[in-house]
Symmetry: C2
Subunit: 457 residues, 2 copies
């Protein structure tokens, strides 16, 4: 093991040059959609990076210079280059990576379980392994999204107990939650300011300097890890609540014969309005879970944020609404879901990305299948692969002979559907647009029985 200068004893002003000179070693624990680009960017900035992951498959792929996130522009090339330059290495041995590093970054998943309780087991495991291998004067940074207080009340005690060292004195501990948008992560790492909160001011200064130098991003210093974590949650909850608001009024506008999309676009001409649109549901690794991290802290504090919870439940109910619209639209052509062939377009949880974590499309698929529909699926990102236990077809393969098309993801490929041509391949012309990307007038002209979320007729 090489001799190291304890990072915590340095002036933040030294960080940029040390980084460039390759004299800072960083362990990135968790090589997922955030961890891997973070590792690659730190490596490109000059750090020696040890990426640690429990999956042998992931580690092996990275060490061969491969990256499975093909939907992240620039990332596969960057991973390849950094591995080839021998600045980025992956290992399954978290302890060894931590032992050799000046900084350990926790970037592991924090899902919620079936009861909507945050599952911090990966954070706990990472914290314990870090504590067992931490050298004096080094720094731990939590990038995973966690409830405010989790770093202070869960991560810090575990590391202290395992290491026998004192946080803020013998080692530094900070939160620097990632704020990136899957599909655009490399660009976001640079353009979205990084929010940092630490348990002591030395760590705050050094981590801020490190992120600024490594990412080229602005840094917002906050007074505590819990503040930084609160910021990350609040900005995501803002989106979840506003999508729920749009879903709620859109369901009413459907009944009132008002087109919600026309309404939202009208509202957007006012200076203080930010448009969010109704849709088939909210998926992904963040929004479906993030509210529950805060709710969980609220339950403990005796102050439960019920509106945030209600927002979550409104969004969770949207796939069911899409199925209701399918029933309604098929009723117009005197068909039932049972026995009909339905083409589900889009499985990804959001447009132009290859990711099906908690995707609403799965709920729609399940429900239609349970009701006796014969559902074939198409998603340009997944053609030929098996998703929801069934093979993803080509567009034509999915639509041929179908009674109904259901759009569950707003992929760019679906914005220019040739409804005339598709209609000719179908047994009956029914279209349910869960993402409002088809112009209802175009659908009508092509002879489709049409329904769109929030589009009253």
């Amino acid at each position: 093991m090489k001799a190291r200068v304890p990072l915590l004893s340095l002036s933040p002003s030294k960080i940029p040059s040390l980084l460039k000179q390759g004299r800072i070693t960083i362990a990135v624990v968790g090589l997922g959609r955030i961890g891997l680009p973070t590792a690659a960017v730190l490596s490109r900035a000059g750090a020696r990076v040890l990426g640690a992951d429990i999956s042998e498959e992931v580690v092996e792929a990275v060490n061969r210079g491969r990256c499975k996130f093909v939907d992240e522009p620039g990332l596969p090339q960057m991973v390849h280059d950094q591995v080839k330059a021998r600045r980025l290495k992956a290992t399954t041995d978290v302890g060894k990576a931590v032992l050799r590093s000046d900084v350990s970054i926790i970037s592991v998943p924090t899902p919620v379980d079936d009861r909507k309780t945050p599952d911090y087991s990966a954070v706990k495991t990472a914290s314990a392994l870090i504590g067992q291998n931490l050298t004096k004067g080094s720094i731990v940074v939590v990038e995973s999204t966690v409830g405010p207080g989790t770093v202070e009340n869960l991560v810090q005690p575990i590391i202290e107990a395992e290491s026998g060292m004192r946080g803020g004195k013998d080692f530094g501990l900070a939160s620097a939650p990632e704020r990136s948008d899957p599909g655009n992560i490399l660009a976001n790492l640079r353009s979205v300011p990084r929010v940092v909160g630490a348990i002591d001011s030395r760590t705050l200064g050094i981590v801020s300097a490190l992120y600024r130098a490594a990412l080229g991003a602005d840094v917002i210093k906050t007074r505590s890890p819990k503040t930084a974590n609160a910021i990350k949650l609040t900005e995501n909850l803002f989106r979840d609540v506003n999508i729920a608001f749009a879903n709620e009024f859109s369901l009413l506008f459907e009944k009132l014969g008002i087109d919600s999309i026309e309404v939202i676009n009208g509202c957007a001409t006012k200076y203080n309005f930010l448009p969010h649109y109704p849709g088939a549901g909210v998926g992904g690794p963040c929004l479906p879970s993030n509210s529950y991290y805060l709710i969980s802290e609220g339950v403990k504090a005796g102050n439960i944020p019920y509106m945030i919870r209600m927002a979550r439940e409104i969004n969770d109910r949207m796939p069911d609404h899409v199925v209701e619209l399918v029933s309604e639209a098929m009723n117009e052509v005197r068909k039932n879901i049972r026995g009909s062939k339905i083409a589900l377009l889009g499985v990804a949880y959001k447009p132009n990305i290859k990711d099906i974590q908690l995707t609403p499309a799965e709920e729609i698929w399940k429900r239609l299948t349970e009701m006796g529909g014969e559902v074939s699926i198409h998603d340009p990102m997944y053609v030929g692969e098996v998703v929801f236990g069934t093979k993803v077809r080509s567009m034509d393969g999915a639509v041929r002979g179908a009674d109904c098309i259901v759009i569950a993801t707003g992929h760019k490929e679906f914005k220019s559907l040739d409804l005339e041509a598709l209609g000719k391949m179908m047994r009956s012309r029914v279209l349910v647009d869960g993402r409002n990307i088809v112009d209802p007038a175009v659908a009508a002209r092509a002879g489709f029985s049409y329904r769109g979320v929030g589009r009253g007729r």
Copy 2:
């Protein structure tokens, strides 16, 4: 009565020149905070304007060139000029004004009653009077904020019954809801696009041309009056829901020892976040009522927007929370509200405006008074006037000898309070900031026991 060309028979392209030539006469029914500036702007654009109001006092004041909305920059001068130029006249005779006009604009209040049911009585009365006096080929425009469907299902039937004419054939009917922000109305009338929806396409074209020419504003044509009304409500509900969201997480952050203002400002560094702040409550003629117009339509349609309702109730509870903070902060100096002197700063419902409609300050005042506090009030807009049955004092007059300052309105004058000087005049130094305009560190340095909404310690 002069002979007139029926407006409805004209091409929209003729409207701008007719307007300039003084050949269009417009009745504005309701000369309140929106009606009066609308009348003045139409008059300035060349229309002959007959402003009608049931209040003799209002009519008399306008006919003397006076305007009570002194907080609307440019309005008093404009009213004065237009009246002097004899293009703007006021009358209590709505019927006669309508009879002489080509266009009748309804700009009357639409409050909610004690049971939170929309009170459309003023709209109904105006519609009846208009119907009784409407000439063939003229146009009715509803600017008042109403639930979607109210124009089609309430206003139109009344006018048709009273006039014996058919809407869309014998007379035009449109919604063109005002979207202005009190305190900034003249600027908004020009800068915020006007949303127009009509029951027929001729009316849509003519009303759009008229508003574009008269206001110099962009016009957004929508497919129906209910769409235009839905836009107006939705953009206001967006604010109400987002303020409720901020209030909800801020109450939790108080308990978690997190500063919500720091959190919100941190979130605002992300590209897709729009900041709203927690506070002492939401007042005014719009936001406290607007949700109920939509909820009322939801009840009828069997689809109640519960989250929007919950948002309203969260905001309605904020004055109580301010009083809780007063109890907490006074507890620190071993005082009770009972028997203490409390200086309430701000009675207006929002900053820099002279308006106390549904102001949260009144709830705070009531509750503190009920609890035995001796509340003196100061508001720079109201000094010397009687508000809440008590005389509004000067700043010094209100603060001298007080035990506690409560800030209920974020007036600009309160942003630079000299807490040192004020503290010296007080019996004890307690400060509760319901609008987060005082820096907590400054309050602490001046020796105040401090609480701010959403500011955990």
